[in-house]
């Protein structure tokens, strides 16, 4: 399109940001490693880099991309700037399903149980959301539907905690709920990456649909878009991407909401052009936030989700004020 030139610059800028943050995330932390440690296997800091920080950085990129792209896709599909997996309860539905496997002690049976449950939870979340909100794109119905999902899942998680069979289960659930990238290994990367990539590809195939939906449901269908088929792609794509992310890192909020907002002006508000930049931008934001929680001098590391909330809360507020001004 006519936007090719600025889009190229956008991709270059975002790509450089991710690359720099990725490298920085290998160096940064409680232990700052010098360059020499990268090449010397005997160096005691070598495992810190390659066994701890490398998987963590890769996961940061993957999870950030999944959440950023899912947020952009949900906003595009629902034509609603407040849509995102966390705000509308999709992430928390994934958590609830995952928590239930911990509660019923099913997670120990196989490494696949919890992640599969999380993905099913995320898909259930998207389906419920679309069913509850109906065919409208009204912001009110979507936020209400999202609120219902949040309430149900929060109640479910509380119930699981209060009825937990033993303190270990409680411990496990609590630490799992607070999303973090800390102490993840290459196993989590191996597990999550294929699902996240599949999800991203599914969402990327729908860019024309998101563009067409600018004209509303009827307008898009008159342009030959099969909106029902696209809905299926959205459900499965977001389900895989957000489900797999939540499965390995727990809930990480605000990336899905904030990223598309920050980048929308750079793509001249085209919803279809926003998916890939949001994936790259989401990766950058999660990497940056994860570096931040590592370098903040606290006794125990601040959970990533808490840091994201600290960043995302004020952002949400700014968005609210702007929306209010527009409506008024």
């Amino acid at each position: 399109m006519t936007l090719k030139q600025p889009l190229g610059q956008l991709y270059a800028g975002l790509g450089i940001a991710v690359a720099v943050l990725f490298v920085a995330s290998l160096f940064a932390g409680k232990v700052w490693v010098p360059w020499s440690a990268f090449t010397d296997r005997a160096d005691p800091r070598w495992p810190i880099i390659f066994d701890l920080r490398l998987p963590r950085a890769i996961l940061g990129v993957a999870v950030g991309a999944a959440l950023g792209a899912s947020g952009a896709a949900m906003q595009g599909y629902t034509r609603n700037p407040l849509a995102s997996p966390d705000v509308l309860g999709v992430s928390s539905m994934a958590s609830l399903f995952a928590v239930l496997t911990l509660y019923f002690n099913l997670a120990e049976a196989s490494a696949w149980v919890l992640p599969t449950a999380a993905m099913l939870g995320a898909m259930t979340g998207v389906v419920l959301l679309l069913v509850l909100a109906g065919a409208t794109s009204s912001i009110v119905t979507f936020i209400l539907a999202g609120a219902i999902l949040q309430i149900i899942t929060a109640a479910g998680v509380s119930l699981a905690l209060s009825l937990a069979p033993n303190p270990w289960a409680v411990q496990e659930i609590v630490s799992w709920i607070h999303g973090a990238l800390a102490d993840r290994s290459i196993d989590e990367v191996r597990f999550a990456l294929p699902f996240i990539l599949t999800g991203l590809v599914l969402l990327m195939t729908q860019t024309r649909t998101f563009d067409a939906l600018t004209l509303g449901d009827i307008g898009a269908r008159s342009l030959g878009i099969d909106v029902n088929r696209s809905r299926l792609f959205l459900v499965v794509g977001v389900g895989l991407a957000v489900g797999a992310s939540t499965a390995v890192t727990g809930m990480i909020g605000f990336v899905g909401l904030v990223t598309p907002h920050l980048l929308r002006p750079f793509v001249a508000s085209r919803p279809g052009a926003l998916i890939l930049p949001s994936a790259i931008g989401g990766a950058a934001i999660v990497l940056a936030a994860d570096i931040l929680v590592r370098v903040i001098p606290t006794a125990t590391e601040v959970k990533l989700n808490v840091a994201m909330a600290a960043i995302g809360g004020p952002f949400f507020l700014a968005l609210l004020i702007r929306l209010r001004r527009r409506i008024a």
């Binding site: 006519t2 600018t214 004209l215 009827i218 342009l223 030959g224 878009i225 929308r264 508000s269």
Partner: protein
């Protein structure tokens, strides 16, 4: 050659309420067909059935003898342009981007080709909106947006253009411009179907008028026949009469029946 667009025995119910009760007609390319009728007569519903956007409960809309719902969605999008009544635009994109959406049935996964861009330019020129190209839609007035949306519908260069209330919200000058645009499309041999509330405009613009009332076709023919006072009386409950104007007969709505 532009194929014929026809519909036969279309029935649609919305909930308990019958909206269309067995309407049939064959529409011809090269003509502007106006569908008129009182609020709730089923005009928009009929147009949606013709565009393949609504499945009638009974009956069939056909393009060249093939059910419009049997056409592949993308093929249908290329051949039938649809201009919805709603001007709701979800994102504040630039006018040129909005017009470019009309090329979606043609575009590949990598966006618009050079040909697509050329078609967008042509459509914007035709609809006289090139000066708005880089304005975002939120900065356009209602009438300006309506014209950009007409350009959007023209961008796909469809064989049939189905427009739901395309003149609503336009000032008299731009109403005439838009009407001239529809006229020109028909003269090119394309099919044009518009729903209208403005009966004098239907009189002036259309080659053929279909009057819908209570889900049935009350009249179908040239404007002077279909818009005759007894028919308008039955359809709208108003008293009307023809007056002789400088450019042919005019409709004058005299008053409401008591």
């Amino acid at each position: 050659m532009t194929p014929e667009l026809g519909f036969s025995d279309i029935h649609v119910r919305l909930g308990d309420k019958p909206v269309l009760e067995g309407v049939s007609a064959d529409l011809h390319p090269g003509q502007v067909t106006a569908i008129v009728g009182p609020n709730g007569a089923g005009k928009s519903t009929l147009l949606a059935c013709l565009a393949g956007l609504r499945r009638p409960d009974m009956g069939l809309a056909r393009l060249n003898g093939v059910g419009v719902l049997e056409l592949a969605a993308r093929e249908r999008g290329r051949r039938i342009g649809f201009l919805p009544q709603s001007h709701e635009i979800a994102w504040s994109v630039e006018a040129r981007t909005l017009v470019g959406l009309g090329r979606i049935p043609f575009a590949g996964s990598w966006g618009l080709s050079v040909e697509d861009e050329a078609a967008v330019e042509r459509a914007m020129t035709k609809a006289d909106v090139t000066q708005f190209a880089t304005r975002t839609v939120t900065t356009l007035s209602g009438g300006e947006l309506a014209r950009v949306l007409i350009a959007r519908a023209l961008a796909g260069d469809p064989q049939w253009l189905l427009a739901d209330e395309p003149l609503a919200g336009l000032d008299p000058g731009h109403q005439l411009d838009a009407a001239a645009l529809f006229r020109a499309l028909a003269d090119e041999g394309k099919g044009v179907v518009v729903t209208l509330h403005d009966l004098p405009m239907a009189m002036k613009l259309a080659d053929r008028v279909i009057v819908l009332a209570d889900g049935k076709i009350l009249a179908d023919g040239p404007p002077v026949e279909a818009l005759a006072p007894p028919i308008l009386s039955a359809a709208y409950g108003v008293e009307a009469r023809f007056a002789e104007g400088g450019h042919g007969p005019l409709i004058e709505i005299v008053g409401r029946h008591g």
